[in-house]
């Protein structure tokens, strides 16, 4: 398992994405899956960067694990900020006409649709958000 610890800031989304992409490259991850994972990182880490510690600052850890049979990656985001379960966002209507379209919950919806597993846990003062994606 590899771990990266950075300040939970928007400017570090790119640092996290590069960290994960370097690992995915080693695994010959298909480009389409890599894009899906990059988007998931933007949604998940972006959420932490914008909301977890506001108005203060804090750190977040990103862990990267590989599983075999089938080949899959597990990325875990951990912060010590305010308890927040993004999976509890209200249901969004992807068929509403444009005038009635809202944007809340769209990010987590996108992650749920493109990843093979998304889990949230609040444990010992930590938000622990895990995503899993099969590479084959």
């Amino acid at each position: 398992m590899k771990e990266l610890k950075v300040e939970a800031a928007v400017k570090n989304i790119e640092v996290v994405t590069d960290f994960v992409n370097a690992e995915l490259e080693r695994l010959n991850c298909p480009p389409k899956v890599r894009t899906q994972i990059s988007i998931a990182i933007d949604e998940m880490f972006g959420n932490i960067a914008r909301y977890a510690y506001t108005p203060n600052v804090g750190n977040a850890a990103v862990c990267f694990e590989v599983q075999e049979n089938p080949l899959s990656v597990i990325i875990t985001f951990i912060d010590n900020g305010k308890p927040f379960n993004p999976l509890e966002q209200t249901h969004i209507d992807t068929t509403a006409p444009v005038e009635k379209r809202g944007i809340g919950g769209l990010g987590i919806f996108l992650v749920k649709e493109t990843m093979d597993m998304v889990e949230y846990e609040y444990k010992e003062g930590q938000n622990i958000l895990t995503i899993k994606k099969n590479l084959v």
Binding site: I13, K32, I39, G46, R50, T94, V98, R101, L106, L110
Partner: protein, 100 residues
Amino acid sequence: MNIKKKKDGNTLTVMIAGRIDTATAPEVDARINESLDGVESLILDFTNVNYVSSAGLRVLLVLQKLMMKKGGMKLIGVNDDVNDVFEVTGFDEILTYEKG
């Protein structure tokens, strides 16, 4: 992230290169909005856009709502990864776009 703009009469064409995500969406939003005076037709050239996250979708939704009242908005050169995001979120139903 690189943005180029071209105005021809009441048509504004915006060429965006890079990804439209949490870090870049505010700049995309600001750069387009500062040039919308008198614009009736907005064309967003996505040929060099790699991918879009929900932060980018938010910008597109606001622009679409605004341009519906002023004239229209169209995206051109949309790649497969961006198209996938549009389809999953139902944005393919509310945006007018051409795949590139």
